[in-house]
């Protein structure tokens, strides 16, 4: 038996809100499976499980905010019934689904409820004092709150044929008067409603000229369509309304970084003539789907440079530098609705360029949809901020703690360059390094930028 706990999804995270469970009790999970969606102050993240086994209980209800390290689920051993040993019977009643962690029953006005239920009510903006509980002794249960939050959806009684017709004729069953048994809507009722509407639309066109007909009620979504996951639907809201929290989280983190980390800054301009020429040639001869952008070359070079200068690839922890065991290149992604995420591109130094392109596209789109994995958000070893697409030439960034350096890349611009005594115009990029002076000195940083430059001069090696 192991516990699945609220993970720390960043150095600055001390609590998180469970948005939804992607598993149910009894589901088999294996290490690396995405089991839950957690909302942190910065973004919404898919959290992976670090154990394999069977989910035996979910301890935290969606919508609950819990501190890092709080057990959220119990994962038991994988159930493999053997011939000799029968499945172990629980000796005590196993914890049910979302048992209230605190059983204390308190009074809120006249309504009696548990803290978990009160929390839920608060979240759903329901006044418990106006409710009558269906539980023991009038206690307000979770079900009561959920019922109050979403009154049972009225389902129009309709025959299967009527439903099918309504969909194909784009008729909202809600407005159709049923003439069948107990007011059941039948096919003829739908046809009549569709006919009436067509008639009305026609008349509207005739008498009112170009004025558009009154908007029709929205059609029922086809039941065959995959159900919209409420979490997905609510995601844009989370991001926009979550922007202030995102802002405050960034504010706290960057204040800490600028206050605690003695930064030093280096800058160099790198000639991209060779890299650009090689890339254009490759793109011209390769399939469209595998075309590269300059960012891929820059990121790959940065990852390789980080491998060559390991003093910048790691963490400052407890007053000492701890080198990382691999290169997980953090990519600063600006989010719609404001804010930043810097998920890690794992093994960026060993990926081929097409792989890196693909991984980058995937990572950025998921970051913007708020669907990052915990492992991606947790542990970048060196972050790159690339403002090239905004037309910025030089960016000096603030280190993302506990990392010890940040690489800034501007846009690729054509500049006059002196080559072997001759003046010519080449595409160039300004690469900068913000580094933690506690962990390294300027010479180390210079070695990094030099390595970056050298790598970009031999693009075919990347």
């Amino acid at each position: 038996m192991t516990e699945f706990t609220m993970p720390s999804l960043g150095a600055d995270m001390d609590e998180g809100t469970l948005v939804e469970w992607l598993v149910n009790p009894g589901d088999a999970v294996s290490k690396g499976d995405v089991v839950a969606v957690v909302e942190t102050a910065k973004s919404t993240i898919e959290v992976e499980c670090f154990d394999s086994g069977t989910v035996s209980a979910l301890l935290v209800a969606p919508g609950t905010k819990v501190p890092v390290g709080t057990p959220m689920a119990v994962i038991g051993p994988a159930t493999e019934p053997t011939a000799h040993t029968p499945a172990p019977q629980p000796t005590e009643p196993s914890p049910g689904f979302y048992p209230a962690p605190v059983r204390a029953v308190t009074r809120a006005g006249d309504a009696v409820s548990t803290p978990l239920v009160r929390h839920l009510a608060q979240k759903k903006d329901i006044d418990l004092s106006t409710m009558h509980g269906s539980g023991k002794g009038g206690q307000i249960t979770r079900a009561d709150v959920e019922k109050a939050a979403s009154p049972p959806r009225h389902r129009v009684p309709a025959s299967p044929l009527a439903r099918r017709l309504a969909r194909s004729l784009d008729v909202d069953l809600e407005g159709v008067r049923g003439t069948g048994q107990n007011g059941t809507v039948r096919a003829d009722d739908v046809r009549a409603a569709a006919g009436k509407r067509a008639h009305r639309t026609q008349r509207a066109h005739r008498t009112q000229g170009p004025r558009p007909p009154a908007p029709e009620p929205p059609a029922m979504p086809p039941s065959g369509a995959p159900p919209v996951r409420p979490s997905v639907k609510s995601r844009p809201d989370t991001l926009t309304t979550g922007a202030p929290t995102t802002r405050s989280a960034i504010s706290a983190l960057m204040t800490r970084a600028n206050r605690d980390i003695p930064h030093y800054y280096l800058s160099t301009t790198i000639d991209l003539a060779a890299a650009t020429a090689w890339m254009l040639n490759r793109n011209a001869n390769g399939p469209v789907g595998e075309r590269l952008v300059p960012a891929a070359l820059l990121l790959k070079s940065a990852a390789l440079a980080a491998r060559q200068v390991p003093q910048l690839n790691g963490y400052w922890k407890d007053g000492a530098f701890v080198p990382a065991d691999g290169v997980r290149l953090g990519i600063a992604v600006s989010l719609r609705g404001g804010g930043l995420a810097a998920p890690a591109l794992a093994n960026a130094d060993t990926m081929s360029l097409p792989e890196l392109m693909k991984a980058l596209r995937d990572l950025v789109s998921r970051a913007r949809r708020g669907r990052l994995r915990a492992s991606e958000i947790a542990d970048p070893t060196l972050t790159v901020t690339n403002l090239g697409d905004q037309g910025v030439e030089t960016v000096f960034g603030v280190i993302y703690p506990p990392q010890v350096a940040l690489v800034g890349l501007g846009c690729v611009v054509e500049r006059p360059v002196a080559v072997e005594g001759m003046l010519t115009v080449h595409p160039t990029v300004t690469a900068t390094l913000s580094a933690d002076h506690r962990a390294s000195d300027g010479a180390t940083g210079a070695r990094f930028l030099a390595a970056l430059d050298r790598l970009l001069q031999g693009p075919e090696e990347l």
Binding site: S159, P160, L161, A162, R163, Q181, R186, A187
Partner: protein, 333 residues
Amino acid sequence: MNTRRASTKAPPPTTYREALREALREALHDERVFLMGEDVGRYGGCFGVSLGLLEEFGPDRIRDTPLSESAFVGAGIGAALGGMRPVVEIMTVNFSLLALDQILNNAATLLHMSGGQLSVPVVIRMTTGAGRQLGAQHSHSLEGWYAHIPGIRVLAPATLDDARHMLAAALADPDPVLIFEHGSLYNAAGVLDPTIEAVDLDSAAVRRPGKDVSVITYGGSLSKAMAAADILSGDGISAEVLDLRALRPLDDATVMESVGRTHRAVVVDEAWRSGSLAAEISARITEQVFYELDAPVQRVCSAEVPIPYARQLEEAALPQPASIVDAVRLAVS
């Protein structure tokens, strides 16, 4: 049917019983065919189907048997295995349960258990159904139980033409075929359609086309469904009447095609409702054409009691045109 043809060459009217007898007479021209059962010889069959055949074909071909269903059905199966084409008559389906072991465990399974080496070309005829005040032990409709069994074919001729022609097709089938003759049909009179020379055993028949509801039935309930359709047409409800004809295998295609057009279905089955053939058909309709349905499938079945002897009670227990009309109205209302 008969009036239409009376004006032309006027073929002689016949009955369901005579049609069956004619089919047997024709079949007996094949030396391998013989008829056996209780009272089929000297008495002429307890429903008079085989009257006169003993005189015509002799005791080797028309054999009276002891009162032991298990024994003579088993003998029929043995004869079929030995190369004969026996037609076994069981007095009523109620008594056939004594031979159920032979039918299910031998006739229906031998082909499978012999790895395809032994087919059992036996034809078993029996009477089914109520409506003649014969009491519970002679009146039940258990053909649905047989339709449950893989390995046999179950037929229910409801018309004179089917009574006349199904036997030949059944004898041509290398596997066991059970023919259920509804007791109330034996006296049904009419004229055979001279254009029909053979029938197939696979398809249901649309006995009356319609567009508002599909009334699906078979055997003794067909005439009641037709009567109900007449009443309904007076109200402007156009009922299509389907005769299943073969209860196993069921002709899903014809049923679904009809329900797909009418969008409503009423199943009429003289058997008890629970676990009936009507239940099977209703389930198949839901499985296959659910999104064509504009109303729940209605079923008209017998009351779940042993069929009563008293006339009024017996009539009340069975599907009647009036109850079919009510069910149709419920479906189309």
